[in-house]
Symmetry: C2
Subunit: 337 residues, 2 copies
């Protein structure tokens, strides 16, 4: 799935920024891929991009209309359909990360057929994958893993890709979730793949590349999350990382959405190495990324120093203190670019 | 997915018994659910059931026409379609474990609609599951796990269910693969579920039951298979077994279909306990089931004695030497029925 650029971002009339976090995430990381935003009357979210109508976006060269906002329930409200049809009639493809499939809405399916345009339902894979092979392939890979879901794995992978590029490494970001797919322009929502093909899809996502190229792979779930650990393990085996970063949120005590207690960082390091060795015997942890948003500055720094020392690894908050310590570690372990 | 009984088994015109292994498996375990077999001219497989035409099967009360044979490629040959349509017109549902979907064949879909009958594509889940919750639920569970794929996990689970019933336990078999679904009349092909719902589907398969009821759950894949370990881990978390049986084939050196070496039995025991504790802290191994078909009798007995002693666990070949040692172990660990 390759999504044509540039993008025109549709925000609908959502009541707050949280509901437009997909669009905001795209602008955070790939502002130069975006031409503008389309907002309906009453929209309270704003990406900071120029407001434009659908025809104005088309005239400016937009090739894909991205539904960058989500309604309660993941549905597409009836009053958003006209904008989607307008975009198709203006010659754009349409991409959505909603639960509902664009092609299941007759007016949208008809408009896509009429105009010969593509509908990208990134949450619903229509691709066929091979089963995973487990063979070592050329290139270097870093995977973000977590003590839980929603602890900053996507942000960490994107920030690591950016930091490594800035330090002269040849790196690229590999998306495994919806927003990540829009940010990379390619990828698959790994949790939407048929179970037999999880590791095969992960192998497709991070294919053989030059030996000095680093693929920085967005993580999913946690090996310790009873709902999603299967996805996490298939991703670990398929991405055969050389290095991994453990992402952690220190105020959380239970896994997201269930009663299971949070594992320790050390448990995550140990099980990731134990399982990851199946497809990469040299797997090692290169750092601990902590979301310290709930802590004051001195508290955050003290916490990072403490867990860094405990585990003998660099620890940082990617948002607050940058990624340099992780890139230093990669350089020490695997060599300078 | 509940499949109405009794069954009429369709063998087509397959050239050998291997191609009819689904039908033969059903007859091995649930002969009393089967009314007869339908064979086309040239069929070289035989389940031993009475041969009959589709109308004869319908007259004898058959409620589901099971496609119990597989053609090369998992397709449904054109010259089998007429028999399927005939079964639908005679008032039967139709069930298939083929890769192709019955409902994607227009003549079959039309006949099902015309007659108001169900089409069960057990390899393609159309069910919605919740994500796994991970909470401990009433009842007792045993899961078959393996050092590899295709090492006898289905056979072991079915034999354990039978042996426990014979020894007075209240037990039932829970299917996670196609043939198993036909044998239990219920279930889902776990490898066909969307990745996000693996453990949720496993929870649905082995729901809360009476405290003294044992669910014996068919395993899938291996935690050490780089293609399928995600399915295996989701199944382990979702089925939260009290006991597990490790299935092993002693002559194999590499995992099926890949270059990965086989793990040791001890590695499988250790990782299964380590990961299984997430949803059942009391998980333990209750035995080792070995496919000794490649060994002579004295060699097989010596091998079983050796690995039994090495691991401090009962070891048997379910086909050759029965399941009594495993039921003894369950009785010692969890109490008599």
């Amino acid at each position: 799935m390759e999504i044509a650029r540039p993008y025109l971002l549709f925000l609908g009339d959502v009541p707050d920024a949280l509901a437009a976090k997909t669009a905001i995430g795209i602008v955070d990381w790939r502002k130069d891929w975006c031409i503008g935003q389309v907002r309906l009357e009453g929209c309270a979210a704003d990406t900071g991009l120029p407001d434009m109508s659908v025809p104005e976006g088309a005239a400016a060269g937009a090739r894909t209309f991205i539904i960058g906002a989500v309604n309660a329930g993941g549905r597409l409200p009836d009053h958003w359909v006209a904008s989607v049809v307008e975009a198709l009639d203006a010659g754009m493809d349409v991409a959505s990360g909603l639960h509902v499939r664009l092609r299941d809405i007759p007016a949208i399916r008809d408009a896509a057929e009429r105009n010969g345009r593509q509908l990208h339902d990134v949450r619903h894979s229509t691709m066929s994958f091979d089963t995973g092979k487990g063979s070592k392939r050329p290139g270097k890979r870093i995977l973000a893993v977590g003590t839980d879901c929603s602890v900053g794995k996507k942000y960490t992978a994107l920030a690591m890709d950016k930091a490594m590029n800035e330090r002269g490494y040849n790196s690229s970001f590999c998306a495994t979730g919806q927003t990540g797919v829009f940010i990379s322009g390619r990828g698959v929502s790994l949790d939407a793949v048929i179970a037999d093909f999880i590791s095969g899809a992960a192998e497709w996502l991070s294919p053989a590349t030059q030996e000095d190229h680093w693929q920085i792979i967005e993580g999913q779930g946690s090996l310790f999350h009873p709902s999603f650990a299967g996805v996490t393990l298939g991703l670990l085996h398929g991405s055969q990382p050389d290095g991994f970063i453990v992402c952690h949120e220190p105020t959380r005590t239970r896994m997201r959405g269930v009663e299971t207690p949070l594992p320790t960082i050390q448990q995550v390091i140990d099980l990731t190495i134990q399982c990851g060795r199946l497809t990469n015997p040299d797997i090692r942890c290169v750092g601990i990324a902590v979301n310290t948003a709930a802590l004051g500055d001195s508290e955050a720094l003290a916490y990072l120093a403490k867990i860094g020392e405990q585990h003998g690894l660099p620890a940082t908050d990617p948002v607050r203190y940058g990624m340099d310590v992780f890139v230093d570690k990669v350089s020490a372990e695997f060599g300078a670019p």
